[in-house]
């Protein structure tokens, strides 16, 4: 048995980093007049390679590298593939929608790719300091991206808000790490999991866990740590929001899964009620606030808070089923949310001349394709069967019911009924005839280019696949859940492909 070279453990991250560096170098060496758009294709290519590399990692034995700091397992691969997929769609989306003359296009693509490095690393890290570093890598990229539209007032506002609040949250996380280090004398997750139950300073561990939860819940924009979300989503360009609302959240949820199920499974009685409350708060606050929004992006921001709540409901589930449900939901949510932001980018335009719900009136007549896609993604967000959103909710709430949290499931489903009201408002607005012929003429019909078309196709396909044949993805999520449940000892090395995992 040959030990796996450490470099293979972080192969996707390496590829992404090289891509980012290459994009920046090419950008710097190109003459100023040269169009920067091909750089986006370079970034997309690198991301695709990273995606394949993640899949290839399945053939590696489960284990850690670099002195037990980075892990590869079906769990990390699941989230790697998810994040790379989201980033790829976001890149394709940006390719067609970033204005040709916009400043710093090269940096934009590089930042997206560097952000992906951080997010991927976050899902694989099993060492709290590396977790912190990965979180910072991804956060700093997204802070800059959020303020990418410098010329409007909203852009910098979004970036600064996100940066200040985000730094606070990261600080909380770091304090938590410090306290846990103080209690256990280590930052390696398996060792902490081993030591924590017997640690002398139990209150330190509790405080550490609480602080870490604050930091992570901020990143997933769960209530009551959600206040940054609407402003940032409104200010950031729509393609960035497509990325921002899905990929960092998926990574943060992966971290949350790791923290609660792998780091502190023994404190279940403590974090479970906490997450129950946060889940209920997020759904209710998110949906109630979204009901009143007139700006589509703000509405979707609140809806993303509510979806974080639905996802957190899965944490009420027992072990494997809860983890699998949460992972699945992260994928389903990513597919439909990226899709809907892709449509919104096209309809509203990069400068967002048409941000309001009212502006979507008659969209289906102006552009039948985009109109039907919008209704499709909204239906998925509502949770209509045969779309990804349905099975996401379904698994999440059935995990909750399995875990005995029937009340949580009922609250969640009633909330999704409430949510239908505002999703439907947009859907019905799209289907309503325009007020007058003149209004119709004034609004340009959005064009769908090749790259955006590919992005939309990927999002639609993912949403449909997750809604009609969710079996494969669920199996992958369950395989991941198994590895998270039972942290492997370095000795137990055998090939763990998804296909070969026994199905429970």
């Amino acid at each position: 048995m040959n030990p796996v070279p450490d470099i293979f453990r972080i192969l996707p991250e390496v590829i992404l980093t090289l891509t980012g560096v290459a994009v920046m170098l090419i950008d710097a060496s190109l003459p100023p007049a040269f169009p920067r758009r091909p750089l986006g294709w370079v970034a997309a290519l690198g991301t695709t390679l990273a995606l394949w590399a993640s899949l290839w990692q399945l053939s590696l034995p489960v284990g850690t590298g670099f002195f037990s700091t980075v892990e590869t397992s079906p769990f990390t691969v699941f989230f790697h593939v998810l994040i790379c997929g989201i980033v790829l769609v976001a890149l394709l989306l940006s390719l067609d929608t970033l204005p040709e003359d916009s400043h710093h296009q090269g940096e934009y693509y590089a930042l997206v790719v560097f952000g992906a490095v951080g997010m991927c690393l976050l899902t694989g890290a099993v060492e709290l300091l590396l977790v912190f570093i990965a979180l910072e890598i991804s956060s700093i990229s997204t802070y800059i991206l959020a303020g990418y539209r410098k010329q409007t007032g909203r852009g910098p506002e979004a970036a600064i808000k996100y940066f200040l609040l985000g730094s606070f949250a990261t600080a909380f996380l770091l304090y938590g790490v410090a306290l846990i280090f103080g209690a256990t004398g280590t930052t390696q997750i398996y060792e902490i999991a081993h030591l924590a139950p017997t640690a002398q300073n139990h209150s330190l561990v509790l405080a550490g866990l609480a602080l870490m939860l604050v930091g992570i819940l901020f990143k997933v924009s769960a209530a009551p740590f959600h206040v940054w979300t609407p402003d940032v989503y409104e200010g950031a360009p729509a393609p960035v929001v497509a990325l921002l609302s899905t990929a960092p959240k998926a990574a943060a949820f992966a971290l949350l899964l790791r923290v609660v199920y792998e780091l502190f499974p023994t404190l279940h009685s403590l974090w479970s009620p906490l997450l129950w409350i946060v889940a209920v708060l997020s759904m209710t606050v998110g949906n109630l606030a979204a009901l009143r929004q007139q700006n589509v992006k703000r509405m979707l921001a609140y809806s993303s808070i509510a979806h974080a709540g639905y996802l957190l409901a899965a944490f009420a589930g027992l072990g494997t089923s809860g983890i699998a449900a949460a992972s699945f939901y992260a994928a389903a949510y990513a597919a439909m949310n990226v899709g809907i932001f892709a449509v919104i980018t096209l309809v509203s335009g990069y400068d967002e001349d048409l941000p309001m719900v009212e502006d979507y009136r008659g969209l289906i007549y102006r552009s039948p394709l985009l109109g039907s896609l919008l209704i499709f993604f909204l239906a998925s967000l509502v949770g209509i069967p045969f779309t990804g959103g349905f099975f996401g909710k379904f698994y999440s709430f059935s995990a909750a019911v399995d875990g005995g949290a029937v009340a949580l499931a009922i609250i969640g489903l009633l909330n999704s009924g409430l949510a239908a009201a505002y999703y439907l408002r947009v859907a019905l607005m799209t289907a309503q005839p325009s007020a007058g012929k003149n209004a119709e003429a004034a609004v340009p019909t959005p064009q769908v280019g090749v790259a955006v078309g590919a992005a939309l196709l990927m999002a639609v396909a993912a949403t449909l696949i997750l809604g009609i044949v969710p079996g494969e993805v669920l199996r992958a999520a369950e395989a991941g859940a198994h590895t998270l449940q039972a942290p492997p000892s370095p000795q137990s090395v055998h090939g763990l492909g998804i296909e070969r995992r026994p199905n429970p």
């Binding site: 209509i384 069967p385 379904f394 059935s398 009922i410 999704s416 239908a420 019905l428 289907a431």
Partner: protein, 514 residues
Amino acid sequence: MNAINESILTLILLVPLAGAVLVALVPDRGKLPNWIALSTALVSFGLTLHLPAHFVLGQGGFQFAINRAWIESPAIFYHVGVDGLSLWLVVLTGLLAPVGVVASWNVIRERRKVFYALFLVQQTAMFGVFISLDLMLYYGFWELSLVPMAILIAMYGRKDGSKAALKFFLFTFIPSAPLLVAILWLYAQTGTFDFATLQSLITYGSFPAGPLSWAAFAFLFAFAVKVPLFPLHGWLADSFSEAPVALAMVVAGKLGLYSMLRFHIGLFPVQARAAAPYLIALAVIGILYGACLALVQRDFWRLLAFAALSHLGLIVLGIYGFTFTGSAGAVYQILSHGVVDGALFVLLGVLYDRYGTSQINAYGGLASKLPQTATLFVITSLAMIGLPMLSGFVGEFLILSSTFAGVSRGWAIAASLGVILGAAYMLWLVQRLFYGPESELTASKPAIDLDGREFLVLWPLAVLMLVLGLAPSLWLNEIQQGVLRPQGNRPVALSAPVLPHLASTTSSPGEGQR
């Protein structure tokens, strides 16, 4: 033939869906979408006719069943099949599809593609509801049926479609949240979504009684809103006045009523029996309340809505009377109501199309100008009232007589009062629309009687009403078999009447045919 029997239900599901995709793909030129939709609807109707032709009477269980694994975990199966209960409902759904297409032929003038594509998706969803035997599959189709309906009401509403669509969607979507939780809870307890397995597990297994009755209540609540049962009918009148004719005829009634019979009584007989007295009371209140409100409506769509509330109340009365005859009568009445209501919607749609208003007092004296319309309208109204020899009579008679004999005389008398009121508002409507002096509106517009297509749709429906009324045994055999099934092969209901102070009745399975 076996190969067909084994795939017929899948075909029935897929044909409308394929038609929808085809409609969505072809260019929106001329009547092309209409023709595709019509041929799809006819093909799917033809396919549904295969079912009664090859249905084996006396063979218990579900026929034409297909059971394949769909999703491994949780174990969701693509399990479909029909029995006597769902057999005719599937055929009725198939029949109403071409009727709906023809009824929309000239009415839907814009955006035909969207309309017909969604109409056909709706068709698939309804077939799915009637033939699913896996609770998750059923729930999937149940929810799916909401979407095209809501969008079509919003897009083709007469005045304020959006509002009606939102109301319709939320009214039916929110109650399905507890329904899903109840289904998930059953799954958590048993590990299966399969209808038949669950049925026997619930009958013979030991479930905690409290949660089980909550689950039963969640089922009931979702269905009662969908039917709708008084006092959950808030969405009905708006949907009736806004929905395009082709959809209005399927918006209320059969989905909810079938679900009650199959999944509420079928899965939770004990709990259903416990709830029956309350449901009977609500049903009778609904019958009278709906009839009274129908009397005072000035808008004929709203009149039809409250009339439907009244008639659906009668069917609920039959279902929850727990007599064999009553249940058979209820299923029969669902069929009859589907046909009669469908025809009425088409006829009122004809008037609305010609004169552009649904205010009853704007009409008058149409009988001489539109003789065909008037004739058909009178026939349909009489069928609705329950005139002997027409379709409404059989079901009403079975329900009322079984209620009188087997449940409670008081409720039966009260419900009969509703029937009398029904005659009053229908005949008064006929009188106001078609007789009396000619109104300004009808005098000012050119009189255009039924055109060929409408003629072609309405007369078969009228003939069907007559056949349903004259030869009920053609249908009742299968229905009775289906009604029997949930209780095992013995009409358990007969030995245990709902209201304890009444003596049990002695009706036999054959009684309904007489």
